[in-house]
């Protein structure tokens, strides 16, 4: 089963879980499953149009999915998906 690592500021929405197990065969499926199981996290990672918020980065292991197949990147059972925010402001 794939797991998604949840960053500290979003753990309140996963009942404190640091890693959430998901079954999705792709990154997109995994995110859909995460937001279905923990709906309160959704507005903090997805925009109203369903796209990832600009500060959301997803890494499959050490590789940013933007360097793979984006949201269509396939996930194998042992893969770890890391949800990591870019911290920015001005």
């Amino acid at each position: 089963m794939t797991t998604i690592r949840i960053p500290t500021p979003l753990r309140a929405y996963t009942s404190g879980q640091i890693e959430v197990p998901v079954n999705g065969p792709t990154v997109s499926d995994a995110i859909m499953e995460l937001t279905a199981r923990h709906p309160a996290i959704k507005p903090h990672i997805l925009q109203d149009d369903g796209q990832l918020r600009p500060f959301v980065n997803l890494f499959k292991g050490e590789e940013n999915i933007n360097n793979l197949q984006g949201l269509l990147t396939p996930l194998a059972e042992a893969d770890k998906l890391l949800l990591i925010p870019s911290i920015a402001g001005g």
Binding site: P7, T8, P9, L10, A12, P43, H44, P54, F55, N57, F59, N64, L82, I84, P85, S86, I87, A88, G89, G90
Partner: protein
Amino acid sequence: MSISIPQELLSKIHAHSELAFPDEGAGFLFGTDNPARSVSAIYELPNAREDSARYNRYLITPQDYLKCELEAERLGLEVVGVFHSHPNSPNLASEYDRDWAQPFFSYIITSVYAAKAVESRCWRLSEDRTRFIEEPIV
């Protein structure tokens, strides 16, 4: 809702902000929420924005974020917030700050004028993401 931070750490944040001037400086606040939010360490980081944007923008990379989150866990702490400076600007959270803000985190903003840190205030994103609420520093 308030945040406590030792004067020594606040002074370090001010020193980092002055060193970064006229660019924005930034880093993480390590601490705990038990029994109330308090900061017990800071982690200074480089501003990863391109040179031409650093005067009014800051960026901490995902790699630095993960490194700090793991370091906080190693210390038995949590990343509880972010500090950054506003060179030649008030210490009010901007719309850009809000667009990029994380829930849960405390955002300490320090105003810096003529390379001197003037004052810090702290802000936290509202649950509906529509505004920042001031979190008094005690």
